[in-house]
């Protein structure tokens, strides 16, 4: 997994050099609590590969489907899979993107965080 970019906070979280409250990881993605949650549940799902924005995802890439699948896994784990949640990606500054390493937000109201 050598696609790290210097000065990228999400690459640092993936490498483990910046701390984060991780909730899931596999070969392709890492998921962790947003440092400034806007809802009782606010998880970010980040590909290990440094892809700046959704615009930069390769033509034949299946990474977004994998991110979506992991969103359902995380929603299930936090008890909101059936009650509901929002899954979204902000693209570029005008779309609200702050960290330029592709990431999906999973947010939900129900505070069903496991111990």
């Amino acid at each position: 997994m050598g696609d790290f970019k210097d000065n990228c906070v999400f690459c640092e979280i993936i490498r483990g050099t910046t701390p984060a409250d991780k909730v899931y990881e596999d070969d392709l993605v890492v998921a962790f609590w947003d440092a400034k949650p806007v809802r009782p549940i606010h998880i970010l799902i980040v590909p290990r590969e440094h892809i700046p924005t959704l615009n930069d995802v390769g033509e034949g890439s299946a990474i977004l489907s994998h991110i979506g699948k992991i969103a359902t896994v995380i929603a299930h784990r936090f008890g909101v899979r059936d009650s509901g949640y929002r899954f979204f990606i902000n693209v570029n500054a005008g779309g609200g993107q702050v960290v330029f390493h592709l990431h999906a937000h999973v947010i939900a109201y129900q505070p069903d965080r496991p111990a």
């Binding site: 959704l54 615009n55 995802v57 033509e59 890439s61 299946a62 990474i63 977004l64 489907s65 991110i67 979506g68 699948k69 969103a71 359902t72 929603a75 909101v80 899979r81 059936d82 009650s83 509901g84 949640y85 929002r86 899954f87 979204f88 990606i89 902000n90 693209v91 570029n92 500054a93 005008g94 779309g95 609200g96 993107q97 939900a108 109201y109 129900q110």
Partner: protein, 137 residues
Amino acid sequence: MDDCVFCKIVQGSLPSRRVYEDETVVAFHDVNPVGPIHVLIVPRTHFPTMNDLAEDDKILSHMGKAARNIARDLGIDRDGYRFYVNVGRGGGQVVFHLHAHLIAGRSLGMALIKIAVGFAIVSRKLLALLGLADRRM
């Protein structure tokens, strides 16, 4: 599905303002837009929610690709846009046929900044043209 408004739009039995379609998805303007641009990207196959996708399904990646293409065609890919999927009632889903929202619109703040920068550039050029730039206070 018989009673699904998005299935009817996909089949063409309900009208919509389409912006994109291919063999897998159809995209059209939301009838109640929340921004200057609000497009819905809908798979032709009826999946109620994102939770109902099979383990190895690639439809979400395809919807993301469609969003990139639509954003580029509408000229909003660089400024930016939001791509989001509401899942279940608690997530704000209203129509239970999987769909992604693509929302964009130049924010007023950004527009004002661009106007101010543009004005400053034009002013400098004008002053330079008049030979006044070096004589300013």
